[in-house]
């Protein structure tokens, strides 16, 4: 696995341990301990992925996440010590792609990171249609007519997963496995939050979605083309 990871965490021991583990996987790691300098460090380091602690001195992790997301669609994985619904949902809504709850196993973290970095490895030219949208998989772009819709890589992956098998209903667990790389049961709220975010960008009326349709009690599927 190749790529640059920016670790934003105020706990130096954890940060160092993270660096050791990630370097073993072949990743380049840079570190910043303060929330207020995190965004500047992000601009300097130009990482492929950000590992972001929620509780930070200087600036809250959520706020850092929001600011990074404002200028980039880069994958952000939150590190959180809290499993309370509110914390998790707020974290996801501030733009994080995924989250890992402390204490996590190193393999688990690496699987998450791998799923987020994997995308660059498969540049097959492919053109998909879903609803009135046209997806260029290799070019990483989604168009409605001549208008280009701006999606984060995760939202793009989610849309592509649904569009590749428009006849299939995807359970949240399957989506977690395919898009987020979970091998065991994960938090299905991840899927809910990101489907909402995706809908707000691609649907004509997010209240009455036509492209990403909910199948009650099961999951989601692509709407009729």
């Amino acid at each position: 696995m190749k790529g640059r990871v920016l670790v934003v965490d105020d706990d130096l021991a954890l940060a160092e341990m993270l660096s050791i583990v990630l370097r073993q996987e072949g990743l380049e790691v840079s570190h910043v301990a303060d929330g207020s300098t995190a965004v500047a460090a992000f601009r300097d380091a130009r990482p492929d992925l950000v590992l972001l602690d929620v509780m930070l001195p200087g600036m809250d992790g959520m706020e850092v996440c929001r600011r990074i997301r404002a200028e980039s669609g880069i994958p952000i994985v939150m590190l959180t010590a809290r499993t309370d619904t509110v914390d998790v949902v707020v974290g996801l809504e501030s733009g994080a792609d995924d989250y890992v709850v402390k204490p996590f196993k190193p393999q688990e973290l690496i699987a998450r990171i791998r799923a987020r970095l994997r995308r660059g490895d498969e540049p097959e030219p492919e053109r998909l249609e879903i609803g009135d949208l046209v997806i260029d998989v290799a070019g990483h772009s989604v168009r409605r007519g001549s208008e280009v819709l701006s999606l984060t890589p995760l939202e793009f992956d989610l849309l592509v997963a649904l569009a590749r098998k428009p006849w299939q209903v995807f359970t949240r667990e399957i989506l977690l496995e395919q898009v987020w790389g979970y091998r065991h049961a994960g938090d299905t709220r991840l899927v809910n939050v990101h489907v909402q975010r995706l809908r707000s960008k691609i649907e004509h009326d997010p209240e009455h979605p036509q492209i990403v349709v909910t199948v009650r009690g099961v999951g989601y599927k692509a709407g009729p083309a």
């Binding site: 706990d11 954890l14 010590a81 809290r82 204490p103 996590f104 393999q107 049961a185 009690g217």
Partner: protein, 568 residues
């Protein structure tokens, strides 16, 4: 059809009004007070009115009697003198004419009295003159009794009040008749009777009666209105207090009553407000305490988890490299990792329990088919079951068992029950049943392992409870699993119950209402597989109350779980 319907409507009309009155009587203090006042007022007014009416009537009659008797005496004297001095008593005819003249004279012209001259009962004189009558009365008006009384008493007046029907008028008028003896020349003893119709008195009484009636009605209305106003003054603040209390009860703790003046109601309002303030303060304190507790749990959680993460990664790194170590070091790395797993599980469970204790646990409800949850758990625990040699079977009811619950929590509960069954099932089969009824869905997990001793069914949900403290701890449970499961069930307003018998295994049943706002009538599955109808004392967690011992269980529609061949 229409006729029948109409009759019914007529019959139900008054009944409905009556029912409404009864309801108003029961529910409205004001209605009760006003109605009682009206009834009592009516009674008193009626009694007083009747008494006064009678007194006035008697007075009027007495006045009339005094006047009439005095006048009659005078007139009789005049008649007597006239008959005594007459020179017209030669024969019967002239006497009759004379008598007629006298009677006309005495009767006068103002028609306030009528005079009757009538031969006495028992008069034996040979000369008879016919009865003389003045005005519109007949000879027959004089009652037999009065005639007799006059005949027997030569000197005194006799009197009687009788209704007299005057000719030309429709109804009889109560009249005073005064009679006395006079002796006629030739014709002997005659009675002279004066009839005084009391028309005026009667009219006066009618007017008085009408006045009483109207006056009484007005007075009654006035009393009713006063009662209404007075009770309103008292009831309105009480009602306001009730409304405010209701809003307080529903959570608006800042609600207060308006307190004015220094009267009883003001003191009610003041006491009420003091109570509300005290409530608000105490609830505020409790909320604050809960917030502090939550905050503490959250902080502990964060403070502990960050170093634990570092340890975890370091241990995994060391563990992965253990093949290069000498045997003692390698084994240490293994032990370190195993114990760290246990430590993590314990910390997670402890934090979860404190979240429940702090009241911070929230439901994330979603309509889900319980069968799906169970299947998921069974798939996830398949490897563990295989390791222990237990075959896990799910008895699919063949229809969806949907309910609104938090799938994450219920999955955790079911996983806990299944893992427990596998760990204590001694490699024997495990059966899972899913069923639903009107009010609830249920999952029952049955194992045929060591089972529970009498009394233990109530203890298994206690924190850190162990069946046998001396027993070797082969399994890695934290001792909090069932306590957390019970809290999860309670959060759903559901039941989590246990049954067990030594050597026969145990059965754990989770029952959850089908929707959040429902309550469970009965569980769709039996808890005690031997006696589906009568179950052993069991632990019930319901509606947020603490564990209570329930003695019986309502009969269940499903038959008991059959014994399988795999049983010893």
């Amino acid at each position: 059809m229409t006729v029948a319907g109409d009759t019914l409507a007529i019959r139900t009309g008054p009944a409905r009004i009556l029912a409404r009155m009864v309801r108003a009587w029961r529910r409205s203090l004001q209605f009760r007070v006003v109605a009682t006042t009206l009834v009592l007022g009516m009674l008193v007014l009626g009694l007083v009115g009747t008494y006064l009416y009678q007194q006035i009537g008697a007075g009027l009659v007495e006045d009339r009697r005094t006047l009439a008797t005095a006048e009659a005496l005078q007139l009789t004297k005049k008649v007597k003198v006239a008959f005594d001095r007459t020179d017209q008593a030669q024969d019967q005819q002239t006497l009759a004419l004379f008598a007629q003249d006298i009677v006309q004279d005495v009767a006068g012209t103002e028609r306030s009295r009528y005079v009757v001259l009538q031969r006495l009962v028992g008069n034996t004189a040979t000369v008879v003159i016919p009865s003389v009558v003045s005005g519109e009365v007949g000879e027959g008006v004089i009652p037999e009794g009065l005639r007799r009384a006059v005949a027997e008493d030569a000197k005194n007046q006799q009197q009687q009040i009788v209704p007299v029907k005057l000719t030309g008028t429709a109804d009889a008028v109560p009249s005073l008749i005064v009679g006395q003896q006079v002796t006629l020349p030739l014709a002997g003893g005659y009675g002279i009777y004066y009839v005084y119709p009391m028309e005026r008195e009667r009219d006066s009484l009618v007017v008085v009666g009408r006045t009483f009636l109207y006056g009484g009605l007005v007075l009654l209305l006035l009393i009713g209105a006063v009662a209404y106003v007075v009770t309103r003054l008292v009831v309105a603040p009480v009602r306001r207090a009730a409304e405010v209390a209701q809003r307080l009860a529903s959570g608006t703790l800042t609600e207060r009553m308006e307190s004015r003046g220094e009267d009883d109601l003001a003191s009610l309002a003041t006491s009420f407000n003091a109570m509300a303030a005290s409530l608000e303060r105490q609830i505020g304190q409790l909320e604050n305490l809960s917030r502090v507790q939550q905050r503490f749990v959250s902080d502990v959680s964060h403070e502990l988890r960050t170093p634990l993460t570092t340890i975890r990664m370091a241990v995994d790194l060391i563990y992965d490299a253990r093949e290069g170590f000498e045997p003692a070091m390698a084994r240490s790395a293994e032990l370190l990792r195993g114990e760290l797993d246990r430590f993590e599980a314990l910390l997670a469970d402890l934090l979860e329990i404190s979240r429940f204790d702090a009241g911070a646990a929230v439901l994330d409800v979603e309509t889900t088919d319980m069968r799906r949850t169970v299947t998921k758990v069974v798939d996830a625990t398949a490897r563990l079951a295989e390791g222990k040699g237990s075959r896990v079977t799910v008895l699919d009811p063949g229809h969806p068992c949907e309910a609104a619950f938090d799938p994450r929590r219920v999955e955790r509960v079911v996983r806990n029950l299944v893992v427990n069954a596998i760990e204590h099932g001694e490699g024997r089969p495990i059966e899972i049943k899913v069923e639903r009824n009107e009010s609830a869905v249920a999952v029952a997990v049955r194992d045929y392992g060591v089972g529970l001793r009498p009394g233990e069914a109530g203890l298994v949900f206690n924190r850190f409870w162990r069946a046998d403290p001396a027993r070797a701890r082969t399994t890695g449970g934290t001792g909090l699993g069932l306590a957390i499961a019970l809290e999860d069930a309670r959060l759903h307003h559901g039941w989590l119950q246990a049954w067990g018998a030594p050597g026969e295994g145990s059965c754990f049943r989770l029952t959850i209402p089908r929707s959040v706002d429902r309550s469970i009538d009965s569980s769709p599955l039996p808890l005690n597989p031997r006696h589906p109808q009568v179950s052993a004392p069991l632990l019930v967690a319901q509606n947020g109350r603490g564990p209570t011992m329930a003695a019986s269980e309502s009969p269940s529609a499903t038959p008991g779980m059959p014994r399988t061949d795999g049983l010893p």
